[in-house]
């Protein structure tokens, strides 16, 4: 038990250090982009958050697979927590992406930004995940349904991305382009630090959330045992 606590504290400490370091590097140390200037720095916040959201959904799908494979109920909580965090990071992706669109092109939303569109579709999908969970009684049934749905979500990610790319041919002309990761070495370093920071943030928050939820469940059991 104390080992688990130590791990959680260490994870939180590491995440904090990485987060502060990453953001400081991004704001002060990273070289200024020739084309976009200071506003390019939002890239160090937006893309790591997006990638972390994907990691959350992937982690949730992995735990879902473990649930269906082993039928151990603890995986349901782990999968649910991961998807929950994924949606939070997803909302952050949409908001920071929207801010970036405002900076770059002056509009709060644009359909020609593939990542944003993909995240919107995924956001809708995983919101339906919560609706599914809310409308089924808790138990192995709900765990199974959630797990299958989480697996569908992970399959949807590449398929949707492909669909969005194909859709560009007839939906909107790709007027807005964004310079890709033609980053210099130091930019890439800052990006990696920020990515590690966001992943660390997810890991740390995830561990805490799980502990809290497990405590909730055990307290409920204790209450039932005593009453």
């Amino acid at each position: 038990m104390s080992l688990r606590n130590n791990r959680a504290v260490l994870l939180a400490a590491a995440a904090s250090v990485l987060l502060v370091a990453g953001l400081a590097l991004a704001l002060f140390w990273a070289p200024e982009d020739a084309d976009q200037g200071f506003s390019q720095r939002i890239f160090y916040v937006h893309v790591p958050i997006a990638l972390t959201a994907y990691a959350c959904f992937g982690w949730g799908a992995w735990k879902a697979l473990r649930l269906l494979w082993t039928r151990e109920s603890r995986y349901d909580l782990e999968s649910y927590t991961a998807v929950h965090m994924g949606v939070i990071f997803g909302i952050l992706t949409l908001v920071t992406g929207s801010i970036w669109a405002k900076i770059s092109w002056g509009v709060w939303w644009t359909w020609s930004e593939r990542q944003l569109t993909l995240f919107l579709v995924l956001f809708l999908f995983y919101c339906a995940y919560f609706m599914l969970r809310f409308s089924v009684e808790s138990g192995p049934r709900r765990a199974n349904l959630s797990a299958v749905y989480a697996l569908f979500g992970v399959a949807l990610i590449p398929v949707s991305f492909l669909a969005i790319r194909l859709a560009e041919n007839f939906i909107h002309p790709v007027v807005f382009t964004r310079d890709g990761p033609q980053m210099s070495g130091s930019m890439f370093f800052v990006f990696c630090v920020c990515l590690a920071a966001m992943l660390g943030l997810f890991a740390s928050l995830y561990t805490n959330e799980l502990t809290g939820k497990r405590l909730d469940a055990r307290l409920r059991e204790l209450r039932e045992a005593l009453e």
Binding site: R141, A163, L166, A167
Partner: protein
Amino acid sequence: MTYFADVAALARKDILLELRSRDTLPAMLLFVVSALVVFHFSLPSDASATASTGLLWIALLFTALLGLGRAFTAEREQRVLDGLVLAPCDRSAIWLAKSLGVLAFLGMAEALALPAYALFFEPVGWELVAAVLLADLGLAAVGTLLAAMAAASRARELLLPLLFLPLVIPVVVGGVGATVVDNPGRYLGFLALYDLIFAILSWASFEYVVAE
């Protein structure tokens, strides 16, 4: 192979039930034509062919939803699903049989919708027919699984569209793309890929959805 015999038996049961009660299919047929008429009034007069194609696909999606919403109600109302699940057949056979039934109803609805569309809006080319057929496979596969999920929940008919719509966005892209773009091959191929991935996924995971 008893697997396919099971599937055939289950599918036959569903289609016979529908032919006797005649509630779902007429509703789907009427719905799709009504929707097309509504769309005529909702499109501005200078709307392009692409816009009306898009609306056709929306009509097809919601017609599918209508049919899927009824896919498991009969079982649920008479608790037959528990009996089916206990039956000594592979659970995924239930999924395959239901999907084939949904596919049949969808096909019949489209046999009416496409001529109606050709009459009201634009002539229908082979690409549209091919796209619709390919899309049907994906819609039936995914829709049947999601309908089973929704049937297990309290919200039922409310939940199915929420689960269904995000998952079928790629189908709409493939379908509309195949119709309006000069070279439809890529979009038809994409639809086939979607069908393959999600049919396999639905087939494999159905037993977990109906298990207690």
